[in-house]
Symmetry: C2
Subunit: 752 residues, 2 copies
């Protein structure tokens, strides 16, 4: 359900650095792959070539057409049909396949009313019309209406306030203009944060209701011609989506931390902490326009304004809005398809690959574009297995249900099998949407070097250069000076740290499995139908990846990664890249505190010098902000010392690893030691106030949702000006990093 925003192609020459010539990636291809020796490398490459020969874009097209033929959300009839279909395919390809069911809370709308009651009357349409150009858009009987899942029921009437993206800093801007949202209904635009943050922050500020609309600036005609003429969101398109407080915990709201099996202990609905505190509803810009037009009050700050043909005011009122929402608070079955191919040598080391199968509606792009690529991988690997080849490690393919409402299928499966997975899982590779364009990689930096090797060996279907080379060119052209320098000078492309937004979260952040999230995009134009009825086969084959060439590229990327990880002599982890990224995060949190100190000093100086008052316009309300408390100098030394140790440990392992462990037993012992390096990144207590999130390096931000916070316990304590907690968490994170270094040293000791 992750939305990748399209970056406009701005060819900017603004900031330039001089850099060395690009590293030649050819020697890497000739030498041994990470985790292999030269002999096993040759075998692996030959196997991958055979795998590639199995891939056929016609398969992807046929599966996409089949799976997107009807709406298939969690708990739907066609969702069940799809799970059964996928399971049958996996079985036919030789996988040991089951459908695992969970029973999970999934509210669907019973009543949705949104009216402008004054100064004029207007009743919002709240529906996306069928289009003759889109064959599946007329399946109204099976479509979920536009709504935000896990909004509470509510019936409120109140003046409206426009809150921009509805993130905390937006409320500071409002306060400077003398506006509060207590007992008001807020209208926020999509963007700037994960949607669930908007009602959460609104409720923290006392609002009684929340509307979220798609402004055409972010998601509509400003981005391109609208559907069906072009790819982008039309004036009646609305973005469904979950608003459960997933930064607290994902999965079924009633079963935090445990699998939602039939007999699981469940919270009462009224005690479920991840439901919203206020009713919330997503609307189209067609429905938002009369509401926004009826606002008076101060002009919105320039960066808040969208491109509707009106002047953006903040309110409150005179627009008064009536919002009434009632839901069916049902439990429905979530059906995960789990397909295993047992490893011949190390069956208890699991390489797991997943992509969800549920959608908000027909979901051709989200999630089926990734699902069909994953199916192609599984079919290819099944074909190889039918010829007698067996993977060294066990391969597990997973088609998740219930990702859209809240990563439910993956989370409940991980929670149910936490002990086994913690023991066995060596890798989780996720995908979700996939379109024409550039390879995007997020993940654990312990496998950054590994996935760079994989990317160097996949050919971009449009450019006939490696997808690695193309991603590198993208960084050079669109990145800032630092990104450009790195892209040219660093041996490997730096992968993104993972926040949340897809099924990798439970693997990475709850049980500490090395994780990758992969996909192509940036050229295909599917953002404008995200979570709408128009995310259809017709749309995808016009605007997503018409010939499925990038579906094949994703199957190659995922398939090679799975095969290499499953077949490697030793697990292809490497640690200097990881230490390099952790070093970056340590510098960032230090800089964050320094910047906050300087900003607070500057702000307080302006307050004391009367500078704010001197520039304010007396014809407008201006409330001077409250002075900040001082930002103390924090003791970062524990983190810095732990980092220094980590760097040394990482260098020792990476320098030694080419010699490899000699015997299969020694290799397996090394594998076991390597697995523990990942587990060492967790703390059982989890993050402050959200124990479900145990990873100490990566987490979704408590106030960003999808957006990652690295070293989250430290970073968020600083951001929230909680200095005692910052000092405490610096020590705890330093301990964690030290444990990681010790685990690496233990692995190094296994290498002969």
């Amino acid at each position: 359900m992750q939305l990748r925003l399209v970056t406009a192609l701005v060819l900017s020459f603004a900031v330039i650095v001089q850099a060395a010539p690009p590293p030649d990636d050819q020697p890497l291809r000739r030498s041994a792959l990470l985790g292999f020796d030269t002999t096993s490398t040759a075998t692996e490459r030959a196997l991958e070539a055979r795998f590639d020969a199995t891939l056929n874009p016609g398969d992807l097209r046929a599966w996409l057409k089949r799976l997107s033929a009807r709406p298939h959300h969690l708990g739907s009839a066609y969702g069940k049909e799809n799970a059964d279909f996928i399971a049958a395919q996996f079985r036919a390809w030789g996988f040991d396949t089951q459908i695992e069911e969970f029973s999970v809370l999934f509210p669907t709308p019973k009543t949705r009313v949104l009216e402008l009651t004054g100064p004029e009357k207007f009743t919002a349409r709240l529906s996306e019309p069928a289009l003759s150009e889109d064959a599946t858009s007329n399946q109204a009987a099976e479509q979920l209406p536009t709504y935000n899942a896990y909004s509470v029921d509510g019936d409120v009437t109140a003046p409206l306030v426009y809150v921009n993206y509805g993130v905390p800093s937006d409320y500071e801007e409002l306060a400077q203009r003398g506006i509060d949202v207590k007992d008001k209904i807020v209208i926020a635009r999509y963007g700037g944060s994960w949607r669930g943050i908007k009602p959460k922050v609104a409720a923290e500020h006392g609002a009684v209701g929340c509307l979220i609309y798609s402004d055409p600036r972010n998601d509509g005609y400003y981005q391109g011609d609208v559907y069906p003429k072009g790819a982008w969101r039309n004036d009646m398109g609305a973005q469904r989506g979950s608003v459960a407080d997933m930064p607290l915990y994902p999965g079924d709201p009633l079963t935090p931390g445990v699998g939602a099996t039939a007999g699981a202990k469940r919270l009462d609905l009224k005690n479920a902490p991840t439901l919203t505190k206020i009713p919330v509803l997503p609307i189209s810009y067609g429905d938002a326009q009369p509401l926004l037009r009826a606002l008076a009050g101060p002009l919105a700050p320039e960066s808040w304004r969208g491109v509707l043909p009106l002047t953006y005011h903040l309110g409150p009122g005179p627009a008064t809005v009536h919002l009434k929402l009632e839901f069916n608070w049902d439990r429905v079955p979530a059906r995960d398809v789990i397909a295993k191919l047992r490893g011949a040598e190390r069956p208890d080391e699991w390489v797991i690959r997943g992509n969800h199968h549920d959608a908000w509606v027909n979901g051709a792009d989200d999630p089926l574009s990734g699902q069909v690529a994953m199916m192609a991988e599984a079919r290819g690997i099944g074909e190889l297995a039918k010829t007698g080849w067996k993977p060294k490690r066990t391969i597990v393919y997973c088609a998740w249900d219930g990702e859209e409402p809240g990563l439910i299928g993956s989370t409940e499966w991980v929670e149910t099998h936490a002990d086994l997975l913690s023991k066995n899982a060596v890798l989780y590779i996720n995908s979700d949407t996939n379109e024409r364009g550039f390879l995007n990689i997020g993940g654990s930096h312990t496998i950054e070097k590994f996935i760079n090797e994989v990317a160097r060996d996949v050919t971009d279907p449009e450019k006939k250069i490696s997808v690695w080379e193309r991603a590198r060119a993208q960084q050079i052209v669109f990145g800032n000076a630092e990104a450009r320098r790195e892209a040219r000078d660093r041996a490997d492309l730096r992968i993104d740290a993972l926040g949340s937004g897809s099924d990798f979260t439970p693997f990475l952040q709850h049980i500490g499995v090395a994780t990758l999230n992969i996909g192509y995009g940036g050229e295909g134009q599917t953002g404008g139908v995200y979570h709408s009825i128009y995310d259809s086969f017709d749309h995808y084959t016009r605007f997503g990846d018409p010939d499925f060439a990038y579906g094949i590229a994703l199957a190659q990327t995922g398939g090679h990664a799975v095969l290499r990880f499953a077949n490697a002599d030793v697990l292809p982890y490497a640690f200097t890249n990881f230490a390099d990224s952790v070093g970056q995060y340590v510098r960032e949190v230090g800089k964050l505190a320094d910047n906050m100190r300087e900003e607070s000093m500057e702000k307080n100086r302006r307050i004391n010098d009367n500078t704010f008052n001197a520039v304010s316009d007396p014809t407008e309300t201006y409330v001077v902000p409250k002075a900040d408390g001082p930002v103390p100098y924090l003791n970062f030394a524990p983190l810095q010392n732990a980092l220094a140790n980590l760097q040394k440990s990482a260098e020792r392992y990476d320098a030694k690893v080419p010699s490899r462990a000699a015997t299969p037993q020694m290799q397996q012992a090394l594998d076991e030691a390597l697995k523990q390096t990942e587990r060492a990144m967790l703390r059982d207590e989890g993050l402050p106030r959200r124990p479900w999130f145990k990873h100490q390096i990566y987490a979704p931000g408590f106030y960003t949702g999808y957006g990652v916070k690295t070293l989250p316990a430290v970073r968020e304590a600083i951001e929230q000006r909680n200095w005692p907690e910052a000092e405490q968490q610096i020590k705890l994170v330093a301990e964690t990093i030290t444990r990681i270094a010790v685990a690496i040293d233990h692995a190094t000791a296994q290498v002969r």
Copy 2:
């Protein structure tokens, strides 16, 4: 006619520097004023207090109402009435007043046709409707229609191309997308450059016609509620304005360099080089919308898009446009009102103060808001004179005609009296529009210290702090880190260098008179009626400066400056601030060349490495740019050495000047020497290819129009990659700076 764009009030804490506490400006008030000793300072301050007591906002309101009652453009009946009225006032206040007439080319529309001929039909309305809320908006018989003066006649039909702001870099973006404008009609939006640049650059690229429209993003509902509900431009408002190639020379297009007197030698119309090469017409966003909506072709780059409710495409076509323009190519009288108050001691030293009186239509803000403040000054000074006080130097008040079409009244007067002015003028102070807000100062840095002193003594009517303090706070809050540091640490606020856009240009850039341009703004909202029929008394008294408090502030600022300059014992020039700014410009041109070198190397590297091709989308046209030629290292040493000398000369003068010259004769000799420091900034040959512009420190940019280029001969040679010229001009500008230093040394030698 200068348009100050409103800066949105974004309270940004992004970039912070630590800085020393603010300098205390009180000591300056207690000590002697620049150019005065302590005794004469006391006298001067007492005089200024008496002057302030003469100022009355009721006068300003009455004059504004009277002068804006009917349209009063160059050559109009009411323009003549206004000139006569202003002259009568000056006479009544005791000034020796004349109306000087020139005969100047001023085309007015005979035919204006703009049609979309395909794919649909649409005929542009090309007129601004009368509004019942605006009493003078219905004077259609006297209003100039919406047009751009000095467009050539033309009758063209061609496909349309959207060119963003229509500046040179925009055509590079088009070329990258495979689009050229040869034989096309371009549509550009207002903003990003002076309007006259748009048809000039379009014609250079082969376009056959040019439309300029006001996008609501820059100038319409995006900025605020539109007139008459709010202050901003409505969908039928259009911006008139001159498109003569004023960066070549301003004034009457037929009499470059000489006064347009009755018997002046004139160019044939067909040889006038400042007329456009192609027909050009300004239109409203209401008229632009059907044209833009009918464009196909590539999506416009994100930074090019406005906020009309449509998707911005580039074309060419399928929109095809018919543009037909015919003008009455008449000569009309331009009437300058020139009012003198003879100096008692040094009558041949002239302190000149000007503001234009002509408007595009009723012109309440532009230019009358400045004009009525200037009239209040003149009346106050006249009152002082009636009590027996006489200025030491001659004071000249000027109400210019024909500024809007091209600084005509001021330019022709300066050209006519160039020898006398070159001998006598010691200062020119200009104003134009004026609204609520912050003091803006542009001008010669030799009088930066002087005008800072003046600004410290004027009280802001809203905040009851000095206008200097408020301008300083504005820099602290809205400036970048460097501006903030300077505002806190530098003794004086740095004033802006002057490009063009109002009547200061001939004084400063043609004959080398120390110049200031002053005005208040930033809170008043008049930008949305700029050059429209709605720039009216009704609008101004709602949105500009309703109680004329800032009119009084401008009268105080201008009046004190005039009185101090006229009464000073010695001319209050100072040179270290000037040397400081020249030093900044020298560093900038060096950095410009360095940046261009790095940008060219980066660009060429991307071309050679195939990086651009690697990221382009094969479904869209992408033309790899041509490689840049190398940027050589230039010898900036002559400039740097000349600057070092200038700095020393400046320090010597400023250190010595407090002792003053002793006798009146010696004071006068020093004045004469100081005057020559300004004249030394000129070169007779002028700038390359535009000899009218003789100033070597400040000029309007050849491709920016209003925007200043400092050290223009060097800067523009570099920008245009003309390396031999850059090397040559570095030497010539260095010679000029050396001459300035010698002139300063000569002045220093006069000081005892």
